[in-house]
């Protein structure tokens, strides 16, 4: 019996795989270039929109304002709101047709109520299905909130009383030093998703190429007639896919984190506060990635072995990819502090453990259970791929 040929197979497969433009693109170029670019673009759009909204003047209909000149004087001081006199009937239709953002309905006796220091009922006509209308209503609310405070202060001081009389508490937030950041929160949400997805999907091209591709091109038969045992061959190929998956997920993380550190234009919205990845979070990330990459490699290689050619492998893979994507998306929705049975859910468990680590709320029992379960699934997938590779009916299917 000769020595193991796994290394010989692995070296050749890696060399060949990284000469494949599809793999190089999806594993290296896309995460390192396109992820930051995409984030940057989203950032720029969001910033620009926020700025535009700030300077935007919103037109609001005013119903019944003619009889209340004092109230109108107050309204004329509003910033970002332009009031336009309309009839009650017009107000409804013009808000509905988006001609007006919203409308303010003022009672006939508004001025009298104001003078008597009584409460003035104001009605805001708003279209709940229109975002701009909602925003305008909010701005009207904020405007009157601020005016109310000022008016109360004036009235109190006229009577020689302090405004503090009606505001007994003053509540303000202060940021603690060394705490998490908004950026960190975003990362804790997106990283598990990106990581899970990239560590399974990153190896797709490599896996399809390695067995289904060899069948399709007619190179597999010669390989099977070489002295290498089936086990050596499948192990070499399996490790290749696992390595490609790992590289893919690592680079995806780098691509996602890099913009936070480099702060290119458009990223300032996320990177205003400093981002720190704790050593624990980093360790958890690596610990979680390994079993997922191995599980993914086993899964992908099984499909690739079973399929007759790459096209067939692709179609077998589409339900697998759908499931993986949905599971990864679940990790976006579910809270990090999950009940322990979820630690047994393949893929999702890893994503949740990772989320905990990034949140700083790592539950050791959950994490250990998740890693153990993932390792068990990974070895199952690996064993299945190996079994499949031993069957002549599967390998020589034409």
């Amino acid at each position: 019996m000769g020595k193991s040929l796994v290394r010989v197979v692995l070296r050749k497969e890696l060399r060949e795989t990284f000469r494949d433009r599809r793999t190089v693109f999806s594993v290296i170029i896309s995460p390192l270039l396109f992820t930051p670019l995409l984030l940057s673009m989203i950032g720029m759009l969001v910033t620009r929109q926020a700025r535009a909204e700030q300077h935007e003047v919103l037109s609001v209909g005013l119903v019944g304002g003619e009889q209340a000149p004092s109230l109108q004087r107050i309204l004329s001081n509003s910033r970002g709101l332009r009031f336009e006199a309309v009839s009650a009937a017009d107000a409804q239709t013009r808000v509905r047709t988006h001609d007006l953002r919203a409308a303010l309905q003022v009672p006939r006796n508004a001025d009298a109520l104001l003078a008597d220091h009584r409460r003035v009922p104001l009605k805001v006509l708003v279209d709940p299905g229109n975002e701009a209308s909602q925003r305008t209503a909010q701005r009207i609310h904020a405007f009157f909130e601020e005016r109310s405070k000022r008016l109360v202060a004036q009235r109190l001081s006229k009577k020689g009383l302090s405004p503090e009389l009606v505001r007994p508490f003053d509540v303000r937030d202060t940021r603690i030093s060394g705490g998490g950041s908004v950026a960190g929160l975003m990362l804790a949400m997106f990283l598990p998703y990106v990581l899970v997805l990239s560590s399974i999907l990153g190896g797709v091209y490599a896996a399809n190429d390695l067995v289904a591709g060899e069948k399709e091109r007619g190179t597999l038969e010669a390989l099977l007639v070489s002295p290498a045992s089936r086990r050596d061959l499948v192990m070499g190929k399996f490790l290749t896919v696992a390595i490609v998956s790992l590289v893919s997920s690592l680079l995806s993380v780098v691509g996602l984190v890099l913009p936070f550190w480099l702060q290119p234009p458009g990223m300032s919205w996320l990177a205003r506060t400093e981002l720190t990845l704790t050593p624990l979070a980093l360790a958890a990330m690596l610990l979680v990635q390994f079993p997922i990459a191995i599980l993914g490699a086993g899964l992908l290689l099984s499909v690739s072995t079973y399929a007759r050619n790459q096209k067939e492998a692709q179609s077998y893979l589409s339900p697998v990819m759908l499931i993986v994507t949905v599971v990864a998306m679940l990790s976006l929705i579910l809270k990090a502090e999950a009940p322990w049975p979820l630690a047994l859910a393949p893929i999702l468990n890893a994503a949740l453990a990772l989320k905990q680590a990034l949140n700083g709320s790592l539950d050791p029992t959950f994490a250990l259970l998740a890693v153990a379960a993932s390792a068990a699934y990974a070895s199952l997938a690996m064993a299945f791929a190996t079994r499949l590779f031993q069957q002549e009916s599967v390998l020589l299917k034409a």
Partner: protein, 245 residues
């Protein structure tokens, strides 16, 4: 040396039920001999060579290749075997040298011996001018030469050729035929499977005519001519498989 005794393989097919692709084949092939397997498509030639190459498990019978049993010592069999089929392809993204080196390594050749062997084989087959070009840039004839180099880099005593000239032009095919003859002259055992009469006539020392998984006749070209009383080899073949002329 290859000795086959009652080798059989049956498949289960969904439409046709039990299919006996190879049905009790026995023959012997000696060193320094080119043994031809002649039969129409679907006769069982490929199944037979694949069993000898240990990538298909026989359902009955046994065979020895270079003294090793194909069931009990498949890895030793593969170590002493050179295998080339017409449908064989190369790794497109590797260079010719990388492909042949890979197979040398799979056969456990030391780096030094591999380098020497590759140099020698590349010289014989005139591969050197394009040795470092990627295989997807090679012509069909060049690829076939690299495939041959891949199959013999470990100096196997037994060679299996399954329709090695299919898809080749006359010049490239002649190169392959010349190479097979050279293998015999070096004292190797060569099994050559084909459906092309002229190749069999020109090349083979002995021939087994295979039809429907069974051997219809075995002998030299002249013996088979005598047996059937036909002159043209195509007619010899048709007579042997029981067809009317």
């Amino acid at each position: 040396m290859v000795a086959i005794d009652g080798l059989a393989k049956s498949f289960r097919d969904r439409k046709r039920g039990e299919v006996r692709a190879v049905d009790g084949v026995s023959f012997e092939c000696r060193p320094g001999e080119i043994f031809g397997l002649l039969g129409p498509n679907g006769a069982g030639k490929t199944t037979l060579t694949r069993m000898l190459a240990t990538i298909l498990q026989p359902t009955a019978g046994s065979a020895q290749v270079a003294g090793y049993d194909i069931r009990r010592e498949p890895e030793e069999v593969r170590r002493h075997l050179g295998y080339l089929t017409g449908s064989a392809a190369l790794y497109e993204r590797l260079t010719a040298r990388e492909v042949v080196t890979y197979f040398a390594e799979l056969h456990g050749l030391s780096p030094k011996r591999a380098a020497n062997r590759i140099e020698a084989v590349f010289r014989t087959l005139d591969i050197e001018p394009f040795a470092d070009r990627r295989c997807d840039r090679l012509s069909t004839g060049q690829r076939q030469r690299v495939s041959i180099a891949r199959a013999i880099v470990h100096e196997p005593p037994v060679l299996l050729f399954d329709e090695p000239t299919s898809g080749l032009d006359v010049l490239s095919a002649r190169g392959v035929v010349r190479f097979i003859r050279q293998c015999r002259d070096e004292g190797r055992t060569v099994i050559f499977s084909t459906h092309i009469m002229s190749e069999v006539e020109a090349l083979c020392d002995r021939i087994a005519v295979i039809y429907q998984g069974k051997i219809a006749a075995i002998g030299t070209v002249d013996e088979l001519r005598e047996q059937t009383g036909e002159r043209a080899f195509e007619n010899v073949f048709l007579r042997l498989i029981g067809e009317e002329l």
